[in-house]
Symmetry: C2
Subunit: 373 residues, 2 copies
């Protein structure tokens, strides 16, 4: 099929391919069969995605001779909880799916994280296929095998590493996304440029309108993002080192998201946009990178319509003490020092293990007084 | 330390040692520190074991400088459920244990299976130490990395493979077990002789009273059992082949256990004893092994006081149709054929993938009419 990009994820016996292309989902059954010749499919999807894509998706599986049934969960982050987890596990087990059968996640990050955890634990591990339907999940959560649900103590604290057998990213499906959601996902695309690929960031500065419009530029941007993530995951599957680079912007971002209460006032990608701006400004303050690079980053994010100033947070920014408390919950503070992802320039992110909590506090205090000015 | 036997489990980067010896638990802290120099310990135990062993165990950890806290669950199979799983996960997460810290299972199979699952999913995988306090868990469930809870559709249907970092089997602790429980665990010891070690079976026929009495004969029998299991697990960690041999006697056994409703009328090891007798009698009927071998097996199990006849089941044996239904739930019946562990003689078990369900039904029909005679 024309225009399909294949990104291999090299993890030894757990290796798999990410297929990226326009209209790929229509052929989902064929791709599924090629990887899992005998498996049945238990589709997990949510109440938003099911209306838009489920019928066509099931038809495509059946056309290829794949027996399939579907479990529909409520849309939204609240579904990443023990109750929904138990219900879905019960339905998969009750459907008599075996270890050789596949759980198929059709949806965004919530569906993928929950379904992957279910696939990882039913009969101690079933086959797993990701069909991400948001930009965020196509470039981030569907790649790399992290699965899980939230605990009342925090996000993603309960789960397993369970790699998929196949990821099908249909770039056409993104046409049905609300623009705000596409834009939020784009923050994670920018992140890959900022971590270690200055050329990619430079090309996004020029071509971002094409990426938003769809077509080959979008497919290419998603492919570059997946390749970046795949390379990092291949080096460090279980996040004992380099994989932490993927958290660029996420320490500040998580604090902003949590403070906003996951109400939808600030969605994940928007919080990451703000978090990345803060991480780079903080790097400037620590004399690690030039203000010019930080300004270029802020300009690009602002140009596409992502928030870049704390004053843009609906309902106001968290106070310094709330920020510090939430950062402390997210990170292990050892002897007053934090691990942070900082940067020496565009495409030069690095892991700093000894950032004084006091430096973070002083930085945020200044930022917040600016924001209020 | 004198008299300690070390059984290595060879699983590449997931390799670990089983230490077996009298009074080992008193030095638990030292062994823990040797393997996990910096970890804190979150002990999971149950309401029976905690009274007998928890205080001494915590003391031993603290003496070695290990920070420890304990979570006590209700004793019994009912604790292997979603509710208790969620509660324990919450307590471990709430206790701020990190990925480098250890969940320590102090108890029998229920505690080990649940605690292992918790260790496998909190922060996507913590360190894990097994301190089995029953014969059954010392020779079976603490070795090999299978963890999990029950679903309302069946036992152990939800879990992960999560290998421990260390197993400490204190043979002295077994002195406090009720004799019925020790005897039931002994059925699994016999199983290792029956699978592939005729010499071990022959030695058990001679020395079983010493094994029951304690001391070096007990340590040796547990070590041989663990070595057998470790060898099979090393060949086939995720049960795609040989590991199924460990299910010898378990297909009939599970059906008996389930029919009795896990009421305690028939405990696991007793059901396995009956199941092993049935599996060998069935092998005789299929002309795979000699009746002499089957009689020798039955005689030994009867001599130690384990049930060997369906008529010994309190409340009566399941009917043929109940048996067949439960076996069908346990196993995937494909085109009327079942996978069974059969045997060609003592120490010569093998996996038969094409046993006609009708042959099982005819065999059970005859057995049950014998039993009623």
């Amino acid at each position: 099929m024309d225009g399909i990009v294949k990104v291999p994820v090299a993890l030894g016996e757990r290796s798999y391919d990410i297929l990226i292309g326009e209209g790929l989902a229509a052929d989902a059954g064929r791709w599924f069969r090629a990887v899992l010749p005998k498996a049945r499919a238990c589709i997990i999807t949510d109440s938003n995605v099911s209306g838009r894509h489920l019928v066509a998706f099931e038809k495509s599986l059946r056309r290829a001779g794949v027996t399939a049934s579907a479990v529909v969960i409520p849309a939204g982050e609240a579904s990443k909880c023990f109750d929904v987890f138990e219900q879905v596990v019960d339905q998969v087990v009750g459907g008599r799916y075996e270890r050789g059968d596949a759980v198929v996640a059709l949806g965004g990050g919530v569906v993928g994280d929950l379904a992957g955890f279910v696939a990882g634990v039913v009969r101690r591990g079933m086959r797993f296929v990701q069909v991400p339907t948001t930009l965020l999940s196509q470039v981030d959560s569907s790649v790399g095998g992290k699965t899980g649900i939230n605990s009342r103590h925090g996000k993603n604290l309960v789960g397993v590493f369970h790699q998929p057998d196949l990821v099908l990213a249909d770039t056409k499906v993104l046409d049905t996304l609300p623009e705000r959601e596409f834009r939020a996902g784009y923050a994670e695309v920018v992140k890959y440029g900022l971590i270690d690929n200055a050329d990619f960031f430079a090309s996004l500065e020029k071509t971002w309108r094409d990426v938003f419009a769809g077509g080959p530029a979008r497919t290419e941007a998603i492919a570059v993002s997946c390749r970046s993530k795949a390379a990092i995951v291949a080096r460090d599957e279980r996040e004992t080192g380099d994989r932490a680079l993927l958290n660029l912007g996420h320490t500040f971002g998580h604090a902003i998201e949590t403070a906003a209460g996951y109400s939808g006032a600030v969605v994940h990608g928007e919080a990451v946009s703000l978090g990345m701006v803060l991480a780079h400004d903080f790097s400037v303050r620590l004399n690690q990178m030039s203000p010019d690079d930080a300004n270029r980053i802020r300009s690009h994010l602002a140009e596409v319509g992502l928030p870049t100033r704390l004053s843009e947070i609906p309902g106001g920014a968290p106070s310094v003490s709330t920020f510090m408390e939430l950062i402390g919950q997210d990170k292990k503070v050892q002897n007053g020092a934090l691990t942070f992802i900082l940067s020496r320039g565009i495409g030069e992110a690095f892991i700093a293990k000894d950032v004084p909590a006091e430096a973070v506090r002083a930085f945020l205090t200044d930022k917040l007084s600016e924001g209020q000015a």
